[in-house]
Amino acid sequence: MATAHEPEVLSVEDVVADVDRHHAHDAEGADQTMVLNMGPQHPSTHGVLRLVLEIDGETVISCAPDIGYLHTGIEKTCEAKFYQQVVPLTDRIDYLCPMTNNLAYCLAVEKLIGLEIPERAQYLRVMLNELTRINSHLVWLGTHAMDVGALTVFLYCFREREDILRIFENVSGQRMMTSYFRIGGLALEPPLDFYDQVRNFLKTFPEKIDEYQNLLTGNPIWINRLKNVGHLSAADAIALGVTGPPLRASGVDWDLRRDMPYSGYEKFQFKVPISNDCDVWARYVIRLEEMRESVKIAQQALDGLPTGRITADAPKMILPDREQMKTQMEALIHHFKIVTEGFAVPAGEVYQAVESPRGEMGYYVVSDGTAKPYRVHMRNPSFATLQALETMCKGRLLADVVAVIGSIDIVLGEIDR
């Protein structure tokens, strides 16, 4: 039987040495800086982010993020799964936008195979992706406002988020880890009441955004905490790999949905909000505008939804429907083969990026011609954006760090993977 670990007890000498060190520190003068540990269990770090801050009084001198607390080796796990089995793993790296991750991964594999996705599936994917974006931005707005001290907004945001989660549950059977996308299309035809549910949500949601703006935009505390805080110039943003709303808030007009369209985004009309303010406030304004644009895109997808199949015509890669499986020998064989041995993907490598709510979400998939991916790498927006944290916080007040972390909207699940 294993014995319990002995708790590590500090000896008297250690304690005395520690006290001496502190005294020596005081004696050398007050101009010294202090190292402050923030996190990993800090309510405003949105997960388990640890920051090692060097502060001089209230001013931040340096800020070093320490990550890896949530590392679960998802990239390694992917190598041991069939291509389709990786989809549920992609949900779990960024739990606030599962559909975006599904889409990026599926697009990457589809590109490798050369699968043609029917228009109906593309439209549904776009619609669900925009709902995911709204969902993610609502969580961001609620928690960001809570960090800065406006507790009420959180409840308002989660009220609407609940509506979206109900839509997700209806369409996929799951509220958060939807895994609804398949390589080659979608898992199931959406239920009939799904369209009404989405239509009702899209009709009422713009008023709700007005409501959030009424609560926050004119509020002097909110303005003072956000304006001119966390400055990030356009050049710095590009050099540090920042993407998504923080990049657009720094005045760089770049959105993958418009500039390098995927999954049929070129058929939709929408604006890309830009701001030259480069601060936390600009990121707030841009995300609110993005929610309005997302409503427009989802509405266009709903109105223009074509009829047809929701999966590509590739019986050796896509599970047959129940009816076919029970009546056709071929379909039964395909079903058995796909479930037991997956499907081979031609050798090669692809990089597919999509615009996630946080920025550029890229999947690099390498195939060696077998049924399991040889290598899957995720380029996560939060991982890169976190590098810009020091630039945004340096020389500013300690309290601003909380506002800045909120404004870059990080999800530790995708940073650590």
């Binding site: 540090l240 500039d259 890229g362 690099y364």
Partner: protein
Amino acid sequence: MADALLTKEAVMEAHGANAAIAALLTADSSIITNAKFACNELTLTVPREKIVTACEIVKQAGYNFFEDVTAVDWYPSEPRFQLSYHILSMGLKERVRLCVLLDGGDAVVDSITGVWPSANFYEREIFDLFGIRFGGHPNLRRIMMPEDWQGHPLRKDYPVEGYR
């Protein structure tokens, strides 16, 4: 989809006007050792010692945004490691993949943090998970795994379930 072009000659012939290829060849005619165009993606292999130069050249040519770098372990074949740098041009709206091949026994390459500071975390991640070292990196420490971890989990000879 365009057919895959798998040899250097075929890519040079079909995509010789590509901004990255043109700029690289103008600066150094021997810098591209291999090239591939598949799935509408351009891959250029450059020698290990010239990766920083190659990055500077493509940056000058308009590929302004560094997206990603990661490694692939081709164990047990040699050269064992493949580093894939994905670089985006916001102006041209296209990306290029630069590849570097490294031998397993000598997995060292120059850091490109001088060209794009954003490579910092990515190179640390590769160092942590693959054990490839980056010369001139400002802070080459483990990033995901604990500091005292033994081994590099994303190498193919590291078991999926870990050592127990």
